[in-house]
């Protein structure tokens, strides 16, 4: 009997040694192609003999290196491995960091591969032909959920693109079409729930969502619980990158939090944030990515800044021989801030705040007050009338207990704080 949980049983369950050999064969092809790129040809020796040799001799590349290479001759500069006029679509990074976006392009071949990576993910979490899906994002230059849209079409699902719609229109659509699959950021999933509540709609009762796919932001367990309960659906984490064109990891239905790496399409190293030496299974480190799919815009040993903890494949039990990230992307190395000697990330704060059902939205601001670092937490309650002063005290106490830092908590009126559809920016360092 065919095991229908796999998109490609062959490469999802192949023995590790065979998988490594297949990855090496693909890497060799990709390295040969990279000779056509001025940027990569200057960085990568011509005589790489093995994966170990590759890791030893190919330097890490950072986003600023890629952006600089593009700025030599915009839009793509020294990076392309083929003529960019063969590209059928252009994308660029979201620019939420405030820096120059990185621009990329995909050929027909590249985009078909990128969509197939999404198919691997969607099939893996239970999406099947004839499912009705809704992709709730802006459909702009940011690559976001474009791949999900095309993958659902390719799989024979019915997909509702909602690029120009506002949140009430999307909520109505979810109910009217009894949509079963939703893709969006975790922040926007919460926003839809908030909107539905304002409209007097309980999506867990009136809707038909079975699978909510959230990506593009780290999401702590409290956020996942809120989304799952609000929609009455299973929530699966997915992560992708414009630099790769597509997704590289997805959460396995067999084990919550186990985010399998789609290893035939990507080689993932995990390095210590400071020493840059490899860390072992179970140790936190920075993800370093090599893409095995694109022919035009290639990527080799990319220092992503994503913090991850890798676990071995056999600890999942689903049958895939792909290693996995425990909890997906758990933060960003460049998001880590020191406040009075304590390391704090946005996700740490969010995990505490989302544990309070009375909170609708929040914002964290780091300030320097007469030379002393202060964390200010601006909390927007669900209802200003019923919010009590103890809410601020309780949140402050929980932050102190969990993170070890006493914040200043300010309650603000509902609707004051910004809402986000794409990547949320709730953490501001004004020091």
């Amino acid at each position: 009997m065919s095991d229908q949980s796999f998109w490609n049983q062959r490469t999802e369950t192949m023995p590790r040694a065979e998988l490594a050999a297949w990855q090496w064969r693909k890497l060799r092809t990709a390295l040969a192609q990279a000779r056509n790129s001025k940027f990569w040809a200057d960085r990568i020796p011509t005589d790489i003999r093995s994966f170990e040799d590759y890791v030893r001799r190919v330097p890490l590349v950072h986003k600023k290196d890629l952006v600089a290479a593009e700025e030599v001759a915009p839009p793509f500069g020294l990076l392309p491995s083929i003529d960019p006029s063969a590209g059928i679509r252009y994308h660029q990074t979201s620019g939420t960091s405030g820096n120059t976006p990185l621009r990329t392009f995909d050929t027909v071949r590249d985009w078909t591969w990128a969509v197939d990576m999404w198919c691997t993910m969607l099939h893996g979490v239970g999406v099947r032909p004839r499912h009705r899906g809704c992709v709730a994002f802006g459909y702009g230059l940011f690559i976001g959920f474009w791949g999900m849209q095309d993958a659902m079409m390719r799989m024979g699902c019915t997909v509702l693109p909602t690029g120009s719609m506002d949140s009430p229109a999307r909520v109505r659509l979810l109910v009217d079409y009894q949509v079963e699959v939703l893709g969006c950021t975790p922040t926007y999933a919460l926003r839809l729930l908030e909107t539905a509540k304002e409209m007097g709609i309980d999506l867990a009762v009136d809707g038909n969502l079975r699978i909510v796919i959230t990506g593009a932001e780290p999401r702590p367990p409290a956020t996942v619980r809120a989304i799952s309960e609000g929609f009455g659906a299973k929530v699966f984490d997915v992560a992708g990158m414009t630099e790769l064109a597509t997704v590289f990891t997805f959460e396995c239905p067999a084990r919550p939090g186990a985010c399998h790496i789609i290893e035939p399409g990507v080689i993932e190293e995990v390095l210590h944030p400071e020493t840059r030496e490899p860390v072992g299974y179970g140790e936190r480190g920075v993800r370093v990515m090599t893409g095995l799919g694109r022919e035009g815009f290639q990527i080799f040993r990319y220092w992503t800044e994503d913090l991850v903890i890798k676990r071995p494949w056999h600890e999942c039990g689903c049958g895939r021989t792909w290693d996995w990230y425990d909890g997906g992307i758990i933060g960003r190395a460049d998001d880590m801030r020191k406040i009075r000697g304590i390391s704090v990330t946005p996700v740490m704060v969010e995990d505490v705040v989302r544990g309070f059902a009375e909170v609708r939205e929040f914002q964290t601001v780091l300030r320097s007050d007469r030379g002393l670092d202060v964390m200010v937490l601006r909390i927007e309650p669900n209802d200003a009338e019923t919010a009590t002063a103890t809410l601020g005290e309780r949140i402050g106490a929980q932050i102190k207990r969990t993170i070890g830092l006493q914040p200043l908590v300010e309650l603000v009126r509902p609707g004051v704080l910004p809402r986000f559809e794409a990547k949320a920016v709730r953490f501001h360092d004004e020091r």
Partner: protein, 72 residues
């Protein structure tokens, strides 16, 4: 369909289909046919890749062969 693995016959069919499409995609002068073949090559290529049978970069060859921008 009784297995999650390809049969030998299916594997052969997939390879033959890829080779035929590849040839059409590279040489056919009819824009509609060439375009359809190129889209189909990409689709079959991911199927071969997913089965660990074949992996290649190929668009640059078509560029070099001068079939782009109406010159074919």
């Amino acid at each position: 369909m009784t297995s999650g693995e390809l049969t030998e016959r299916e594997e052969r069919q997939l390879r033959e289909c890829y080779a035929a499409l590849h040839e059409l995609a590279a040489t056919c002068a009819v824009p509609a046919v060439r375009t359809a073949a190129r889209a189909a090559v990409a689709e079959v290529h991911v199927a071969l890749d997913g089965q660990a049978l074949e992996f290649e970069m190929y668009t640059h060859r078509w560029l070099a062969e001068g079939h782009e921008r109406g010159r074919g």
